[in-house]
């Protein structure tokens, strides 16, 4: 059974249709990449999957884990195993990283009927994941993302993913704002989590990230539609020829 199945998805933001009929199937263990120019709808797709309320789905279905994703609240989707690494992680002043993540993990564990972890059990786990992402321990007690550099915020997203162990991780432009060293660290973190039970949807503007997180499938999103799909070599082709190369096939989607 597929993990995620998107059928003819149309979605609008503030009354403007952004996604114009997306079909995409992701099986367990697969890594898919969505590439596309600015404004093509990549982040909207990520937001719709995470059930952002202000994104209105006007047509189509999404099945996740065999359940209707569009019936779920954001926290239910999260508890079902969907994780979104944000393009712009927000700051939560006054709440420590450790407290926030323990609350999140326990919410997920509770949903799954697992026992909640106390601080004694949780901290070693968090420390371990932070080491994986080469994050200093001082970030344990710092308020969530407050005063973090762009790169630290992105690494913190992957730490959260490593703690929450989702079945589908959507990475929304996780590479933006990262220098090459940080990019490698983040990619290592992601690669260490690849398994036959976990799938990834890597949303990116540049091919660069895909040198490190090598996808099984690449899809090109232009003007709200997937205009081309292929293997990892498609990303290289795009890098070479630019997104303009895909345009003739969009059948009037763009000027």
């Amino acid at each position: 059974m597929s993990l995620l199945e998107i059928k003819n998805l149309h979605a609008s933001v503030n009354g403007v249709e952004i996604l114009k009929g997306i079909d995409l199937t992701i099986n367990p263990g697969e890594v898919h990449s969505i590439m596309g120019p600015n404004g093509s709808g990549k982040s909207t797709l990520a937001g719709v999957l995470a059930r952002r309320e202000s994104y209105e789905v006007t047509r189509g279905q999404i099945t996740f884990n065999g359940k209707d994703l569009l019936e779920m609240k954001p926290e239910e989707a999260a508890c079902e195993g969907l994780f979104l690494a944000f393009q712009y992680p927000v700051e939560i002043p006054g709440i420590s990283n450790a407290y926030f993540l323990r609350t999140a993990l326990n919410a997920v564990r509770k949903y799954r009927g697992q026992e909640e972890l106390d601080a004694m059990d949780f901290l070693p786990l968090l420390r371990d994941r932070m080491r994986l992402l080469e994050m200093d321990e001082k970030f344990l007690n710092r308020p969530v993302n407050e005063g973090f550099s762009g790169g630290e915020k992105k690494r913190n997203e992957i730490v959260q993913m490593a703690v929450l162990q989702p079945t589908l991780a959507v990475l929304d432009e996780t590479d933006s704002g990262l220098d090459i060293d940080a990019l490698k660290v983040v990619a290592n973190g992601v690669n260490s989590m690849r398994s036959k039970d976990r799938s990834f949807l890597v949303v990116t503007h540049y091919q660069r990230l895909l040198n490190y997180i090598v996808p099984d499938f690449v899809h090109v999103l232009v003007n709200g539609k997937i205009v081309k799909s292929g293997g990892k070599e498609l990303a290289l082709e795009l890098e070479e020829k630019g997104y303009g190369w895909t345009e003739p096939e969009t059948a009037g989607a763009r000027r």
Binding site: A50, R52, E53, S54, K73, P74, E75, A77, A78, C79, F83, L84, F86, P89, V90, E91, I92, P93, G94, I95, F100, L101, T103, A104, L105, N106, A107, V108, Y111, E116, P143, Q160, L164
Partner: protein
């Protein structure tokens, strides 16, 4: 059960402490005049100096009342209060002198149990002495012996009048004179009880002191009086927590708190205020018109106010510091939350008189529903206050689009060497923040509660641990239903 669960459960509750205890009452008929003051003094068996003082206060209040001089400047709105419809004294009937808790009316003890005030063992374990004020008369006081050993006097105000009249005479009204304001005058005339604490020279009070006030009798305005004196080099931390049952009619609460810190003394005064706020339509609820002021009389003295105000229909309250001694320090940390139709006009006054006096003000206002939240703060640097410093931070958080946040800072500087800093912000609780937390599996209600607690962190960390937990729970309860 984890604390998260508890908070979640709590957010689903109606005002939990809305129950009424049926206890036989000894009360005066409604109305206020000189005879009522005399009757009150007689009932309480107070000495002449108290009668004289109360009568002066009453006459002052009556003159203000005649001039219609009830303060109207606060940013709150309410129907006129009929002071003649209030009964000014109500006490659970004392059958005899009480020697131990076993003799206390079991219904009263049951009330405390419902309130979660474990008067017996649990407080013992927690090391907190409780002077429990039930309606207007203290019915039980614990830990007396241990405090007495340290030389600390901690008792009900009535007992202090009886047993320590000299101290009462010396300090009562020395920080908040009965002429101070309308409600202070009213309180001075008719206050029925409260707490008294004296910490002698060089003594560090061996435990946190706490008093739980509770309004119970219908139509009985509660007029508490608290007086705390820290003598040279003494230290005391005092906790005050309030909760009141559901009532339809508005109830007046006009307390006065006076603190006096001598040379090198420190007083820390923490409040969690959770009087009944009225229902969702704004019906009922307590009018909380309180005068709280501390005087840093001696050099190097320090007074620190921390308050978490979540209850009451209307709050009118400005815990202030008079920084008289050189190098004295005043602090005010406040979280005020207004939901539904609650109104709060609260803040502080820091009056710098001595040299090198310092004050810190951190105010966090949260408005939800139709709540109106006003910060009103005054910082005054007098001529002689060379080298005075003030830091003020004043943040407002709005939830929804029907509430309001208002800020009125008054700054008056008469010495050019003063250094003043003022920071203020107003923000709406962010959809992005809520979504971020939800995406990690946290429910919307809990996400809001978390963001609010983070917003209030700078104040909560000033509270004693036990109170900080309670304060977080209260915020969650108070915000119930405010986020769609």
């Amino acid at each position: 059960m984890s604390s998260v669960d508890q908070i979640q459960d709590l957010t689903k509750q109606e005002y939990k402490w809305g129950f009424v205890t049926s206890v036989e009452e000894d009360r005066l008929p409604p109305g206020l005049n000189e005879d009522v003051v005399r009757a009150l003094v007689a009932k309480k068996g107070e000495p002449d100096f108290m009668l004289e003082w109360r009568l002066k206060a009453y006459r002052h209040w009556a003159s203000l009342q005649a001039k219609d001089a009830e303060p109207k400047w606060a940013n709150v709105h309410y129907a006129p209060i009929d002071y003649q419809a209030i009964s000014y004294y109500s006490a659970p009937k004392a059958k005899k002198e009480l020697k131990s808790l076993d003799e206390v009316d079991p219904e009263i003890l049951d009330t405390y149990a419902k309130l979660g005030i474990p008067l017996h063992e649990q407080k013992l374990l927690a090391g907190v002495a409780v002077d429990a004020v039930f309606d207007s008369v203290s019915v039980a006081t614990t830990f007396k012996a241990k405090l007495a050993e340290a030389g600390v006097i901690f008792c009900s105000f009535s007992e202090a009048v009886k047993n320590h009249p000299d101290l009462v005479k010396k300090y009562l009204g020395s920080v908040v004179p009965y002429t101070d304001n309308f409600f202070a005058a009213l309180n001075s005339a008719v206050f029925s009880d409260g707490s008294f604490c004296y910490v002698p020279k060089g003594v560090r009070c061996p435990m946190e002191l706490s008093t739980y006030f509770r309004i119970n009798a219908q139509n009985t305005g509660q007029f508490e009086r608290t007086l705390i004196i820290a003598d040279e080099g003494a230290y005391v931390s005092y906790l005050e927590g309030c909760t009141a049952p559901v009532r339809d009619e508005n109830q007046l609460h006009a307390a006065v708190v006076e603190l006096i810190a001598h040379d090198n003394a420190t007083i820390k005064y923490s409040t969690v205020q959770n009087w009944y706020p009225g229902d969702k339509e704004g019906k009922g609820g307590i009018y909380n018109f309180v005068t709280k002021r501390g005087k840093c009389l001696g050099k190097n003295s320090k007074i620190s106010w921390t308050q978490v105000e979540t209850g009451s229909a209307i709050t009118w309250k400005y815990p202030s510091c008079i920084l008289q001694g050189d190098n004295s320090v005043g602090e005010f940390y406040s979280v005020a939350l207004t939901n539904n139709y609650q109104q709060a006009d609260t803040g502080t006054k820091m009056i710098h008189i001595g040299k090198n006096t310092r004050s810190t003000i951190v105010s966090k206002g949260i408005s939800a529903g139709h709540g109106q939240n006003t910060y009103r703060g005054g910082v005054k640097i007098l001529k002689g206050a060379k080298g005075a410093r003030n830091y003020t931070q004043c943040d407002s958080l709005l939830i929804g689009d029907k509430c309001g946040a208002h800020t009125f800072p008054y700054i008056e500087v008469k010495n050019a060497s003063a250094r003043m800093e003022h920071e203020a912000s107003t923000s709406k609780i962010g959809e992005d923040q809520i979504f971020y937390l939800q995406q990690r599996g946290i429910s919307k209600e809990e996400a809001v509660s978390m963001i609010i607690n983070g917003f209030c962190k700078a104040v909560f960390r000033e509270l004693p641990m036990e109170f900080a937990v309670e304060a977080q729970k209260l915020l969650s309860i108070s915000l119930e239903g405010s986020v769609g």
